[in-house]
Assembly symmetry: C2
Homo-oligomer: 702 residues x 2
Amino acid sequence: MAIKESTLDALFNPESIAIIGATPDEKRIGGRPLAYLQKNNYKGSIFPINPKYDVITGLKCYGSIAEINQTIDLAIISLPKNLVLDKFKECAENGVRSVVIFSAGFGEVDEEGKQQQEEITSIAKKHNVRVLGPNCLGMFNVNKGVYATFSTILEKQTLIKGKIGFVSQSGAFGSHVYTLARQNHIGLSHFIATGNESDVDVADCIAYLAQDNETEVIACYIEGAKDGEKLINAFKLAAENNKPVVALKVGTTNVGKKAALSHTGSLAGSDDVYDAIFEQYGVYRAETIEEFLDVAYASAELPIPKGDRVAIFTVSGGVGIMLADQLSERHLSVPETPQDVQEKLKEMLPIAGVKNPIDTTAQLNAIPNLLDDFIDTVLGSGKYDSTIVFLAFTGLMPEVLEKRILTLKDISNKYKDIPLITVTLNTEESKKTIIDNGLVLSDDPTRAVNMLKALNFYREHFNRKLDESEKKLKQTISISSQSSVLTEYEGKKLIQQYDIPVTKERLATSPEEAVILAKEVGFPIAMKGMSPEILHKTDEGLVYLNIDNEKDVEQTFQILKNKVDNIQDAQFDGVLIQEMLTDDSVEMFIGSKSDPVFGQVILVGMGGIYIEILKDAAIRKAPVSVEEAERMVNELRGSSLLKGARGKQPYDVKALCNLISNFSQFIANAEDSIQELDLNPIMVFEKGKGVKVADALITLKK
Amino acid sequence: MAIKESTLDALFNPESIAIIGATPDEKRIGGRPLAYLQKNNYKGSIFPINPKYDVITGLKCYGSIAEINQTIDLAIISLPKNLVLDKFKECAENGVRSVVIFSAGFGEVDEEGKQQQEEITSIAKKHNVRVLGPNCLGMFNVNKGVYATFSTILEKQTLIKGKIGFVSQSGAFGSHVYTLARQNHIGLSHFIATGNESDVDVADCIAYLAQDNETEVIACYIEGAKDGEKLINAFKLAAENNKPVVALKVGTTNVGKKAALSHTGSLAGSDDVYDAIFEQYGVYRAETIEEFLDVAYASAELPIPKGDRVAIFTVSGGVGIMLADQLSERHLSVPETPQDVQEKLKEMLPIAGVKNPIDTTAQLNAIPNLLDDFIDTVLGSGKYDSTIVFLAFTGLMPEVLEKRILTLKDISNKYKDIPLITVTLNTEESKKTIIDNGLVLSDDPTRAVNMLKALNFYREHFNRKLDESEKKLKQTISISSQSSVLTEYEGKKLIQQYDIPVTKERLATSPEEAVILAKEVGFPIAMKGMSPEILHKTDEGLVYLNIDNEKDVEQTFQILKNKVDNIQDAQFDGVLIQEMLTDDSVEMFIGSKSDPVFGQVILVGMGGIYIEILKDAAIRKAPVSVEEAERMVNELRGSSLLKGARGKQPYDVKALCNLISNFSQFIANAEDSIQELDLNPIMVFEKGKGVKVADALITLKK
């Protein structure tokens, strides 16, 4: 899996930068990168290029890239659109290693622009030049002082070095989030806007950041990926390096998708599948801009907690209850404090709420050291993994705030493994003070809850074993058939070879054979007419159930044959003689479909109305391990039915999860041949009694 | 419904205020109300009471309430707990009309305190004094300058007059929200903390604010109501006066409920029922503190939109997509701009996104009047009901901001009926500037979306016709029975009288009679053994289906009788002869249960696993109108099944809704007799073919 030394180093960490279209006017697009580089003391060499000047802001100015007698790591092209292609060619031919193209007017506007963009892509490939853009705001690498951007957001602000690498498929969105981060004193390692992605795309950037030493957290804004496999590999790389990834993905609804299509022309793909991919590869999906930044910030500044137990300290009983509710709704636990802790707290303050939420009441302000002693006593019990301290509007009271900060710093230092989030209203000044003191801060209690939710999401994902099933060598399975659909008989014969248990069944081609096979299978039996031209047997009346004697077998054979013969263009393959499944069972559905971005994904749901009416399905990219299959089953709203709800015995979930994993492996291996595969229904019997696929429909790729 | 002139006027709008325990030290609890009243130029008379002083801050000081020779509207008691009861008695006996008690140590601490609190309640009733508290932070009425509170939040801040009446069951929570409001330049009409609610409770306050001329929006923080009916009446009063109510209710989870119980000792009741009550009576339930205040603020400052169509203006395509997604997820519509509007916009700016979201791009800053012209063109089409304008970080750029404010003010004035929310990052200063200019502002796009969601919630609720069924005179239905449970036969005979259609059925007490009745009902029939002692007939093997001949009827009668006779203490009432329901139908469930706070509530769900496993139920307080019943059905996740999913014909939803409404009316009238009533299953037939209750179980109150 490890990607070799990144070819993107020249782009994101260049030792030399040429600016094609440089000007001394720092208000102009071609002037800004130069000004930013100089202002921020970029350590490498800068080569302004503009035939109009000999010198710009003290630097020798060149007429063209060819005039510079050294290999350039990065060239920035800041020129009118019609000049871009020529200048880019010049770069490529002169060995420039990477290029950022600001100019717009390419793939995002018309067919001509699209063709020119494709030419950029092919030149880049041919000369092994990496390209960011066109139509892009560029990027900056804060720690190295690299500023290949014309964004005005840097004009007035000093940058904060940080651990968050931020990559955005939208420049304006990126600028906004950057500004919000700056306002909240949150630092970045990189800012990258990918623009039209003629070469370098969001997945490349994530993979780069996953390997960058200065980056500990990756935040990505996504409208749509072109190459799903590449995106997944980038997510995997981040997970392997224990770097939390937070994503904001838009186009969740049809309305949003339509808007996305007209924004960047990117095909959004199925949002459900993105959801599944994020869950499967440990990417936390933020719902709002605030949450996006909050989660990146908390992940960068706080340790991953060791467990899900949260201690709440509050000066308001009401907010304490609200926090307990919200943590609990997000599947975190708020366990009661141990008895001895309760007694100690009561001793210090009889009117305190001591069970968790721990309510210090307003007495906090009357008793010195109360907060220190309370938190120390509770966290010292070893029963909590993270904590929220709600201080109401202490941030507006400078004299009190100072004391609280000292306390919370001491506590954070003493309990280094326990993430602590301070919640208080703030002035601009107090916010800066608190953050400068190394505390993680939120204005709003619910936002703190979501930070802990995300940290716990990462804990769970980092703890998961590497997906074993993925380590199997991928063995391509090819299926050849004259028809585009396999009959139930053919399909089940095929999947049976890959450890997928199916009903006991034989194919009979004459009434006499049907009788022999029926006895072999054992009465009662089901009989189904087989024809590759008929997808839905029930609709055509080709399914007969509960046949329990030889005479009926013979007669039914004849009826089924006649029915198939009477359907135009339908070839008769025979009659399937199948055991009846009469044991108590739960019906499930497993299907696969080919996603345009991510390839074969599998769907698991309870049978019938659950999946059709309630859309209650769990989705993953194939293949999945048995453990991942179990998580899929647990995701289903109806899954309690499998575990023995309504006073019934539990069903064989283990066998079901094995089946799901085997199915996913099969579908991954047969990806090139199979378009769609539905197993429906699958009967899950009582615990220990296994599962059986009762019907299967395989549609092949053309 | 109209409540007579509020008896709470003396409390919330007093013309004279006595402060028992007044001191000149404004840092002390007894000093603060006096200081606040004087600082804020309270227009009425102030009477400090404290035997230690002759004069306090220039006012004559009295030794006791009796010394003042006039009727006092409001007395504030700020004394150590042990003095409270005596002084309160003195107030009551001296004709004081209302009292605020700050002191703690009553119902919230121990049994003794609880008894003393009960004494306060009974004295208050006897003397017709209204009491706020004890253990309460008090209240203030901003417009009248009434400050009956010791909260420190008023120490340094000047108050903003506003239209939001805010009532909180928690003082600390209230102070926090008040401070947040102040920080965001949001004014209040009233702030009321209800404390232990020995007399005046949250419902009283809502009802008062619903009738107060200065209050246009009511915000309430609720931990638990004691009297559900009173709370509902308060909500109704607010709705009648077209005043939006926003609630933050905590204790949503078991964890939170436990915390609530140990906080104020209030029984939280079922949170699902609160949810239902809020939905039914048009109260918007906020999930977070930010949303709580945002919704109150937006409702106070913006008109209720005429429809659900939102126009999005954005400087970032990405944020535009996100807004479209989020609006759409909240069931608001983001319709495409009309063709002619698109053409006009394209003319002004060819690179703009013109379909909605309308993306002005960063060209906004290059072309004067672009924003004005864009918004005017789009809103002028008459196709939009509300709008969000996303300006990224314009709030940080004072020179640009000034122009934007002018534009948006003009637009708001021109389109007075269209709520407009401006979204931008801000400094403390720019926030103030924008708000002072009368614009509604949000820092975050999603928060603006939630504001519009709430405004649309109120639009829908205010548009609903008054619930007709509630206008029916309540006729008490009494049911007497020796048993605590009615048999299916008795139960269905009873409900049939109240327009609830049931299966055709007769009760047979002998085999011969069974045969006669079976012929009357018509073969095939179902037969069920009846005994008031047996609640679950199927479990006892007392249900036989599809009996189609006389001989089987006779035999089955005997089998059933024997079975019942063999069950200890079970009385045999006979055998129910029932038609078989064979037509295509969907199974539903309707039940009622008695909520400790709100009385009889009804539950509607799809039959079987839907309600048991998926908890997919709609809940309301009984009774409900047919329209409300329809909303209940539409809330169900599985409701598309009723409307003809899976290629089937639609079912008789109209008949179902009539049934639900009739059932709810019956249950409301029989509230005193019935503990629980389950109709399960109800068969809903094809459209036009009606519904039938197939089984009913009535449990009576002891």
